[in-house]
Symmetry: C2
Subunit: 326 residues, 2 copies
């Protein structure tokens, strides 16, 4: 099919994108246009060592190949997102969160030995940003920040159309940012950062539990952050207080990042970050403050697939780079 | 002299670097090695329109040429630092502080018409950063931030050895950053920003006046920020409180910027920023917090000449660019 060949630059085959999380691993087989043709996932509860994770990936890739009758020889590249600091040039995961606990793992090499095709590794939030820039909320935007708010808070920065990863591969680690209302000393290792404690999912949950009184709300004392925001939308006063405070803190963080980077767009991802009520309240504040910093905020288009789709695009780039420069 | 010719890439002549401030204008004539051979300055109190400033520059350049017996025909380029948002590509000053009050001034064109040589305009703090990277505290450092703390607070960011100016030419405008202890809404136009109000020279002075009681310190009620810091060094308790608080706020700002940019070096400039006591106290805090963000802080080497020397280096680049690509 000549049309298809020209569309994917004459490269035939398939790539695999992989998203390693602290609790589960997802992967997808995609064609050279980046369209996903099969998916697979597994928990990482019992297999968190690097060797075990590579073994898990091997099994998953075997499954999606079998499912689609794609021969292993048609695989061109794979790319992996990791929840930690990653040296993309060396292909080494420098450190991950306590859930995985990796230190200086040469993951690219392990994968290339196992699969005998080119591999690339990157931080998962950087990959989510890359995904949004290639096929999500930031297509065609040269400078933007993908801000992920789930259990924790982190960001991926794209400058001039390329991921900006920083001197020591940890640009955008804003979960530790100091804003008004935050703790006034940095948290210790393994503890949530100042910003995370305020607007991360666990932080919001904990605030709700602290403020909760049996006579202050009909809602239960144990709620997830998104359920608290839902309560605010339905008119619960206490939940409204938590929502307004979360929006204010998020607006501070976006405003501060925008001052530094002069970045016009923030894409909000993660379960908490994508909640429409948080989006609306944060936007109202930023619009009100907008005489100096004009920032647009958009919800993630790719949602929980952002990392995986970013990994697919990185695998596509990896495949074309290796073909151009063998 | 063949040696000299090779040192300055075969280009003969001189350049002019200019630093336009809200209250005065300084310029320097330099050779093609960047060595200053004459200086001139004047107040801008009575001549703040763009035309008047260009006229002032013309007079000053005439003076330094006369003083050094350099013919006007030996001038190769000039570069100007402006206290405001500047579109370097277009050569247009988009906006300056209230002291100058410029809006969309095509300063490069005005200068090129007047002098008939290539000119470049840039933000003054960006030029200070550029100066420190070429011949100051950050020689050979690819990523760093020059943080200027004088009356106000601003920063110039260098990434990968080049000024990072942002999408709308206002990256690094951190005087408006929200940190713990700051006001909780952005200041209006022409007002100092949240961070400025806490650690800008005027802000520190105002805090001192608010806390001052006749029985709380033998020092006078009206003091400059640097005099308050001097008092702290000599053991004054109230001055020590102000110094410690300023150091903590500055450490927050540096920590936040470092989280975003993953930048290992901050060069502190400006009258307040270069005070050794502020430097020492801020460094102690950052070292204490350093398990996540390892940042080095250094005082500016070029001091109050940073902008001017940055302008000279930019003029040298302007001259060589125009020679290579006429």
């Amino acid at each position: 099919m000549p049309g298809e060949l020209s569309k994917n630059c004459g490269v035939d085959g398939y790539v695999v994108g992989i998203d390693i999380g602290g609790t589960n691993l997802r992967l997808a087989l995609a064609d050279m246009d980046g369209d996903i043709i099969a998916r697979w996932s597994a928990t990482t509860y019992e297999s968190r060592s690097a060797d075990a994770v590579v073994h898990l990936i091997r099994g998953g890739v075997g499954q999606v190949l079998k499912q689609t009758s794609v021969p292993r020889s048609a695989l061109r590249a794979l790319a992996v997102g990791v929840p930690g600091v990653t040296d993309v040039d060396a292909g080494v995961v420098i450190a991950t969160s306590y859930l995985l606990g990796w230190r200086d793992v040469p993951l690219r090499e392990l994968l290339e030995i196992s699969f005998e095709i080119p591999a690339t590794v990157d931080n998962d939030v950087n990959l989510a940003a890359f995904g949004e820039s290639r096929s999500g909320a930031a297509i065609g935007v040269k400078d933007f920040v993908f801000l992920a708010i789930g259990t924790g808070v982190g960001s991926g920065i794209v400058l001039n159309g390329q991921p900006f990863r920083g001197m020591a591969w940890s640009a955008g680690e804003v979960g530790y940012m100091f804003v008004p209302g935050a703790q006034d000393e940095p948290a210790g290792r393994g503890k949530p950062g100042a910003l995370e404690e305020l607007i991360g999912g666990e932080g919001i949950k904990a605030q709700w539990q602290r403020l909760w009184r049996v006579d202050s709300t009909p809602l239960p004392q144990v709620l997830r952050a998104t359920e608290i925001f839902d309560g605010a939308v339905r008119g619960d006063t206490l939940a409204g207080t938590i929502l307004n405070q979360s929006a204010r803190i998020l607006a501070y963080a976006i405003y501060n990042m925008s001052l530094v980077l002069n970045c016009p767009l923030f894409v909000l991802g993660g379960g908490v970050g994508m909640h429409p009520a948080l989006h609306k309240s944060t936007k109202e504040l930023l619009d009100k403050w907008g005489n100096r910093v004009a920032v647009e905020i958009r919800p993630s288009v790719l949602g929980s697939d952002a990392q995986l789709i970013g990994a697919i695009h990185l695998a596509l780039e990896t495949a074309s780079r290796r073909i151009l420069r063998p």
